[in-house]
Structure formats: C-alpha cells, structure tokens
Amino acid sequence: MLKLRNVSKKYRGAERYAVQDLDLHVRHGEIFGFLGPNGAGKTTTIKMIVGLLRADQGSVTVNGFDVEKQPIEAKRSIGFVPDNPDLYQKLTGLEYLNLIGDAFQVEQSLRAERIQYYLEMFEMSHALGDLIQSYSHGMQQKLALTGALLHEPELFILDEPMVGLDPKSAHFFRELMRAHVEKGNTVFFSTHVLEVAEKICDRVGIIHNGKLIACGTIDELRKDSEQVNDTLEKLFLELTEEDDSIG
C-alpha cells in the first residue's frame, strides 16, 4: 500500500539529514505505527508521503502511484490529518467539508451520509453552520478527521493523533482506526508514545535520528531489544517515559 525506498531529506540550511535512507513497506489492511522520540523525523516522513515536502532522494509510492510523478492519483488514495490541523477560520464546518468533498469528487448521497454519520458520532452536528473560528480546539480536530475520512481513503495517515486527547476520545480513536481497516483500508500513524502503539498497531517501525532502526510487531521488537540491541532497549525506555501525554 505504501512503499518508501531510500528516502532522504535534509532541510535547507540544516547540517544533518532529518530523514536518511528510509526503507519502509506498509502492507494493505494493517495499522502501522510509526514510532520515535521527538525530532526523530516522523513529521518529515509523513510530509513527504502526503506531498507537502519533496524528498531529496528515493521514492515514495502510494497504492502503486509515485507521489512525485503521479501526485494527483497518489493523493486520491490518501486521507491526512496533520499533528496540529489548521483549518480555514472563515469557512463554516460544512463549507470546509464540501471543499474537501468537491476535490475528492465524493458523490452527493455518500457525502451527506458520511458527514451526518461522523458529526453525530462527534456530537457536533449543531455547529456545522458556524464558522470554524468559533470551534474549540477539539472540535477543529474532529472536523479535520471528518474531512480526511470523507472519501473513505484507502490510506489513512495521521501525525501524532493521540496528543492531547482525553482517555475517552483516545479509546474512541482506536475504535475508529480499527473500523477503518476492517473496511479493507490501511492506517499509518505516528506517535512518540510506546503505549499507544502497543495497544493498536499490527506492526510498528521505529525511527531515530532520521533512520529506521527496527520494524516488526511489538513482540518481535521487544524480544530483539532484550537480547541484542542496546540502542533499541534505551529507545524503548525513552519512549515509555513519555507517556504522560495520554490521559
């Protein structure tokens, strides 16, 4: 579903690579956790997948489409929620969703049905006609989520989705991801919290200083880290320490 081959990125003016020689294969139908401490290169990688950043080297393919050569086709398969979604403050929630729906050419009855479904679930149907500037932070996040799911993307990408969520919403989020893969789609999300990944991921990849240092199921990785891999063990420790951001 998602393939990264030898992907490298160095920001202009930076001294070291933000992402270096990254190889990653996310399979169809799985929930893949992209795990790593702050500054590891998760956001940079995700931006290269969704078309916000261009890789210096290597290639990214989504659903068989190269994101540089066939960006439109690749983007059609993606639904993306950034770590801190900024939404046009002067549109209403419904206008925003229609803008997304028009771009993805979501047909009328499906669109209405999905908007109603998600917004009732998020308990914000009443705010649909209000400007986004009147929404709380949480409501804006939920709106961004609805926008990303509106075309039922084959590849659902989220950057640090659990940051700042209360336990109830976090649980709810996990259900949402599960339901999405059960419909035959794929989920790729980043987190710096091991516990989050442990609970929901089929597989995880661990990125550190821009390099992928491990990839597999959590159990496999835990075994590795206990037996041979010193850095991996340290990294696990570091990642488990930072679990204060989930409720």
């Binding site: 931006k47 916000l52 983007k75 950034p82 549109l91 206008e95 229609n98 803008l99 009147s134």
Partner: protein
C-alpha cells in the same frame, strides 16, 4: 519607558519584517535577487516622486511669490501629509488594534495597557513619518533654500514635522473606536465592520472633496482675485482640507515674527489637545480591541443547516473559486483594504455633483470634444479593469493569504493548474462585479458611450484575467506564509507593491499608446492593441503556469509550519 521602547522595537520588527529579511537574505543567503529587484524597482519610482515634488516646490514658490504668498507650497505639503495620514491612519489603527491578534498574545505578558497602546501607536507613527517625509521633505527643504530661510524656519519645520501626523491619527483613532463600538455590540460583527468602515471612508473623502472644491456662489474669476489679494487667502483656501495645516504653514513661513509664533503655538496646541484626548481614551481603544479580538461566541448562528441540500458535487474549479471568494470577503481587513478602490473612483466622478449641486456639466468636456471618442472610452474602461486587479490585491496575495492553511490545498488531489484557475476565477468575479458597479455611476456622470463601455468591459475582462494569472504566479513564486495576523498577508506583503508597480507601468504604457492614437486619429487601433496585449499575457501565463507552477507547487516547503 524602557519597556515601551522594547515592545515598540519588536512591533517595528514585525511590521517591516526585518528579522525575516535578515534570516532569508543574510543568514541563509537565498533569493538574494529579490532585494536587488525591489531596490531597482522602488528606487527610481521614489526618486521620480521626490524630484517631481522638488520641482513642484520651485514652481509653486515662484507662482506664489508673484501673488505675495510663496508659502502656499508649505500649506499644500502639510495639508497633503495630514490628509494622507488621516486616510491611511484609519486603516492602520483598525489593522493594528482590531484586525490583529497580537493583543491577545500581549495580555499575558507583564505590560500595562497604556504601554501596549503607546508602543503600537509609536509603531504606526513611525510608518506615517516615513511616508509623509517623502512628500513633505522635498518641498520644505526646497522652499527653505529658495526663500533663504533662516535658523528659525528650520527649527520650526522640525517641530511641525514631528507634530504633523498626531492630529489626523487621533481623528482616525476616534473614528475607528466609534466603528468598533458599534460593531462589537452587533451580532454580525464582521459585516458591520466592513460596511461601517467603507461608509466612514466615503464620508471622510467626500467631505474633503466637498470642502476642497466648494466655492461660494461667486464668479470664479472674482473669487480668485479676492483670494489672491487677501493676505494668505490662497493658503487659507488650500488649508480648508485640513485647517490646522494653515497654522503649520504660517508658523514656518513667519518663523521670525510674532505672527508666526502665534500660528505655531496654535498648531502645537491643538496637536497637544489631540494627544491628550487620545491618552484619555486609550483604555477604551485597548479594551474595544480586546473584545474585537475575542471573536467566536457572538458570531454563532445556531441555525440548523441541512447537510443534504448543500452536499452536491461542484466542479473542482468552481469549488476553489467559491472558497477563495468567501475567505476574502469574510475578512473585514481584506475587504476594507482591497475593495476601497471600487468605491473611490465613482466617488471622484461625483465631484461635480458636490461642487455644482447638479450633474449638468460633464467634467471631462474641458479635455475632449463631447462626446468622448468611443475608442478612448473602450481603452479607458479596459485600463480600469487592469488597474483594479492590482489595486484590489486579491490575485497578488492569493497564496500568501492561505498561510498556514495552505496544507489543505496542497494535500488535495487537485492540480496546481486547477488551483490557479479557481483562484483567478474567484478573484475575477469580485473584480468584474466591483468594476461594473463602479462603472455605472461613472458612465452616467461622464456620459460615456454605452457601446464603448461594454466593449471596454469585454476587453478589460480578458486583459485583467491574464494579468491576475500572472500576479497569482508572482505570489506563488514568493508567498508570505508565516503570518499570525491574516491582515499581514495583505498589508506587509511586497507582492502587492510589486503588482502595483508592474500594473502601474503597464497602465502608463497603454495610456501613452492611447494618447498617440488619439493625436494621430488612429484610435480604432486601441482595442486591437489591447486584445493583442491580452493574448500575450495569456500566453505568458500559460507558459509559466505549466513549466514553473508545477515545480514550485511541489517544492513549497512552508505548507505546515
């Protein structure tokens, strides 16, 4: 005072983008050609203005000398500077206190309200001093040279210069407070701000024009004689625009006499009174600004919307155009800055109504035989469309205004050509409606040939569409995305200035061609040449729109901050 100073410095920094410029051009050493081009473009323009005003001072001085009132040029400069400050000060105060979000950020910091207010007003005044010095200095310095003025003149002129923008800024602040008071209590705040702001501008400009041109019901020649013979009569006539400027001019011209001192005292006195009034209302400016910043709550409509009735599929380009228009028109800061031109031009055409009380005399009949040749009408109308595309700043700031929201469009499966087409369509719908609405009174008042106007509209739409495409590409090439206050994307954006320069030059060239054809009686070629120009603009847009835009769209890195 030290705290006010440091706050002032950081506000100035943001206002002029010094840190950003230093970071880009000096530290990262990228896009070094930009400052070069800007200096090369703005330098000569500035030089021409200064030189022109230097000459104006000379001519005005000599003419005035013959009438015994050489200091009429001083009054002219002072009046112009104060009117400009009043006009732009209104925008700056609104932008700085009401459309800007930084008050909210300054609150948690240990500043007192008067300190924030003082720093912000100082920052606004600094900008005003810079702009009025371009007008005032060449004239005053040349006057001082020609009149062989002594030390008292130069000292007085420094005092007058420092005091010059205070009073108009106070008036501008009062108008802004009045507007925000009304807007804050209504539940359609943005709408009230926009309409009220435009109304205030219309009234201010209208009354200026009225005062400026309304003469008593006397024979014009007789009146002129009277003004010339009366001591300082002409100076007083000029000063009617902004009466204190007469005191300023007299204070400077008679700086060596008690009469001059008296005038200077009057001028500085009224300025001081203005300053005190502003100090007295400062808390109010501040808190109204805060309330204005706390949007949200009140704008809630609470009306139930029917999802299924709006969830139909729109063509991608139309959808992009709709969002472009909504995002522009719902921001009062954008509307007040961008759309004011559509209102000013018809207002100018109304001058005869104000001065004569009727519209029987066509003000253009002195220039042309009546009716105005149809091809000139066509060219002029087309030119109007072209100029307004740049003046509105809509295409030239279209990507900048997206700012941190640009990630939305960049992750949608929509090609950059479609994004551009949507943005141009949205901008042009506003431009065309604005121009047509403005042209209706103009056509009536100037008795323009209807066929010429319609033809001009068609050519103008073609011409301005090509131009707005190029301006949108300019903004794609160097977007300003890292703003916090939306208004910055428009007011502190050099792309808007570059657009005005480019279109100004083009308008100058077109105007010259029209003049040549008028003299040679080959006016039928005007529409042909304009159509060729439109085709050239389209071709250039098409070429850059494919070659450069795709590459740029993929390599923009500022999508998410």
């Amino acid at each position: 005072m030290g705290r006010v100073w440091s706050l002032y410095k950081s506000l100035l920094n943001v206002q002029f983008g010094w840190s950003a410029a230093k970071y880009n051009y000096i530290k990262k050493r990228q896009r070094l050609w930009e400052p070069v081009i800007i200096v090369l473009g703005l330098g000569p323009a500035l030089g021409m203005i200064v030189f022109g005003l230097w000459r104006v001072a000379e001519i005005g001085f000599e003419t005035g000398l013959m009438l015994g009132q050489p200091h009429i040029v001083l009054a002219l400069a002072a009046a112009a500077a104060q009117i400009i400050t009043l006009f732009f000060g209104f925008f700056y105060v609104l932008s700085s206190f009401y459309f800007s979000d930084d008050l909210k950020m300054l609150i948690p910091l240990p500043y007192r309200s008067w300190e924030v207010l003082a720093a912000k007003l100082l920052a606004i005044m600094t900008g005003q001093y810079l702009s009025i010095s371009v007008i005032v200095l060449p004239i005053w310095i040349n006057y001082g040279r020609l009149a062989r003025a002594g030390i008292p003149y130069w000292i007085t002129s420094v005092l007058v210069f420092l005091a010059l923008p205070v009073l108009p800024l106070v008036i501008a602040s009062l108008l802004a407070i009045l507007l925000m008071r009304v807007a804050n209590v209504s539940n359609k705040k943005d709408l009230v701000t926009m309409i009220g702001g435009i109304l205030i501008l219309v009234v201010v400009i209208g009354s200026q024009l009225y005062l400026q041109t309304k003469m008593p019901d006397a024979d014009p020649e007789e009146l002129l004689l009277q003004l010339m013979s009366e001591a300082d009569g002409l100076v007083k006539a000029v000063g009617r625009v902004f009466p204190p400027s007469v005191w300023a001019a007299n204070g400077m011209a008679y700086a060596h006499k008690p009469y001059g001192w008296w005038n200077l005292v009057l001028f500085l006195g009224i300025t001081a009174v203005g300053g005190l009034v502003l100090y007295g209302i400062s808390e109010r400016v501040f808190y109204q600004g805060l309330i204005a910043g706390m949007d949200g709550g009140k704008t809630r409509s609470r009306k139930k919307v029917e999802v299924s009735s709006t969830a139909y599929e729109r063509p991608v380009i139309w959808s992009a155009a709709l969002s472009e228009m909504k995002l522009f028109l719902r921001n009062p800061g954008y509307v007040l800055n961008g759309l004011v031109g559509y209102i000013l031009f018809p207002l100018f055409a109304l001058i005869p109504l104000l001065t004569q009380g009727n519209l029987e005399v066509n003000p253009l009949q002195a220039l042309f035989e009546e009716p105005i040749p149809v091809y000139l009408v066509m060219g002029g109308v087309a030119l109007f469309f072209l100029v307004m595309t740049a003046l509105s700043s809509i295409p030239a700031t279209t990507f900048s205004r997206e700012g941190k929201y640009l990630w939305i469009r960049r992750t949608l499966p929509v090609s950059i050509q479609q994004v551009l087409a949507g943005k141009i369509l949205g901008a042009q719908i506003i431009n065309v409606i604005g121009c047509v609405v403005a042209l209706i009174p103009i056509t009536y008042i100037l008795r323009l040939n209807i066929g010429g106007v319609v033809g001009g509209c068609i050519i103008g739409i073609l011409l301005s569409t090509g131009m707005s495409g190029l301006l949108a590409l300019l903004d794609l090439a160097r977007p300003m995305l890292d703003w916090v206050d939306p208004i910055k994307a428009m007011k502190s954006n050099l792309n808007g200035v570059i657009a005005l320069l480019v279109v100004g030059l083009a308008a100058f060239g077109i105007g010259y061609r029209m003049f040549v054809h008028y003299q040679r009686s080959t006016m039928a070629r005007i529409p042909v040449e304009l159509l060729v120009l439109a085709a050239v603009l389209f071709a250039v847009y098409k070429y850059l729109g494919t070659k450069f835009a795709e590459h740029r769209w993929m390599n923009l890195e500022g999508g998410i901050l």
